[in-house]
Amino acid sequence: MAYTAEISRTNPSCFLFLIDQSGSMSDNFTETQKPKSQAVADAINKLLQQLVIKCAKSEGVRDYYHVGVIGYNSDGAKPAFAGAIAGRELVPISEIANTPARVEERNKKIDDGAGGLITTTVKFPIWFDAITKGGTPMKEAFQRANIIIDKWLADHPDCFPPVIINITDGESTDGSPLDEMDKLKNKASSDGTVILFNIHASARSNNIISFCGSSTTLPDQYAELLFQGASLLPEFMKSVGKQEYGLTIAEDAKAFVLNADPELLITAIDIGTRPSNALAVR
């Protein structure tokens, strides 16, 4: 059965983020009037935080995952980490945890232990700021991803399959990335095929679509391409989506979201017992 490999420090898995940093990402979302690039930077910082927190134990962060971020803009497709881990393709999650570009302090309401809420200051790590620069070489980004994942799978043939998350507004400027997406989706460890998520940040549409099937009408050809390129949503992720997020998920649902929170993809991948009531009051 696929997607059952144990994720451990001796058999880690991998997340690879591909981030669109093109000029068009400076357009504002119509609803929030916030640039798409800022929304994407927020999303990736949040996903990285969730990954780190998932792997954090009393003694520190356990290297259950290695994580890479490739940014693509007019300079091409390149590793996008800043600071001490700049230039590296895949980095153990503990190093990422300990080397954010900076740590901001933000106010947050937390449980006071007696059923009420109090405001406290929390540390909020930032690895990425919004960057927008020129064209969108999405095809090149996927070519690079194929090389990185080939190497990872050669070194980790029995790992829980790598998860690739492409965040973009969808307008590739170096040709169709579909062939490269297909190549990537067909790669596999002994535990199953790579899972490719396409996360579409669209300023044209106020629609929010999460993990839809083929019967859903998408707003434009960019969304359709990203839908087509994404993996089918694996059964274990469908179950978590239905049971823990209350989503209606079609049988042929794909790993595609439009302007929606993709948190489910982090939650769904188990590294051990995950209390069902930990998610309920987030």
């Binding site: 144990e6 451990s8 520190g60 962060v61 937390i110 929390v122 540390k123 069902s276």
Partner: protein, 247 residues
């Protein structure tokens, strides 16, 4: 007439983890002034941090206070939470440790209080640690989980955050008093071994003799567990097994 009993306990970390990363906890008390013994097992959740400390507190509290109905938690929680925070809340935690602390710790609890005079036994359970009672080599009780397929990776667990415990339907208390007899074998286990037991029984393989061999030392627990793990017969997880044999 007093019931005589012998107890044995075994625990091992998940394969690949160090001994000090085992987040299971257990306790077994001597008879109190009312000749009642208390046994408790708690399994701290992997995805929460400082769960080992939480699991240890839960078994110690069970040994002192018993948890007879769901109201116990409302009265004990502030003290439990404060003790847990005292253990784990140090200055200058990295951002992720602080965040994780606020999410709280999570663990199971399975507690049994047994009168060594009457043999009466009452049981409290939250989460997927399970108890089994065998009489005449047959399983006569499985509690609270009755089917192997009901062991999943996302059980409801007791949390250090009060708000996250408000599911009275997830708190299980034995409604009848089970009466233990001479010869009975009581087995309490965390989820991996608990599921293994039910899987065998569901395939009409009696687990009594194998468990008795572990209890008696005829089988070495660590060797036996490794064999089961290598053959993928048991989930690779922290594993704790507590036996009480009445004779």
């Amino acid at each position: 007439m007093m019931l005589n009993y012998n107890a044995k306990t075994f625990t091992a970390p998940k394969k690949g983890n160090a001994e000090n990363e085992n987040e299971d906890a257990f306790i077994l008390t001597y008879p109190n002034e009312e000749s009642i013994i208390r046994i408790a097992v708690s399994d701290g959740a992997t995805e929460s941090s400082f769960s080992k400390e939480w699991a240890e507190l839960l078994v110690r509290y069970y040994a002192i206070y018993n948890f007879e109905n769901e109201t116990f938690f409302q009265s004990l929680h502030p003290s439990l939470r404060n003790q847990w925070l005292d253990k784990v809340n140090t200055q200058d935690l990295p951002w992720y440790a602080q965040e994780k602390l606020e999410m709280g710790a999570f663990a199971t609890i399975l507690g049994a209080s047994i009168s060594t005079i009457s043999g009466e036994c009452n049981i409290s359970a939250i989460g997927d640690s399970n108890i089994y009672i065998y009489r005449d080599e047959k399983m006569i009780l499985k509690f609270p989980i009755e089917k192997a397929s009901d062991f999943g990776s996302s059980p409801f667990l007791l949390s250090s955050v009060l708000e996250r415990n408000k599911r009275a339907d997830k708190f299980f208390f034995s409604e009848e008093l089970y009466k233990l007899h001479n010869g009975d074998l009581v087995v309490i286990g965390t989820d991996a071994i608990g599921q293994w037991i039910l899987l065998q029984e569901e395939n009409n393989i009696s687990t009594y003799q194998e468990l008795l061999s572990l209890y008696s030392g005829k089988f070495d627990f660590n060797n036996w567990l490794n064999e089961q793990r290598i053959e993928n017969k048991i989930k690779n997880d922290d594993t704790t097994l507590v036996f009480l044999k009445f004779e």
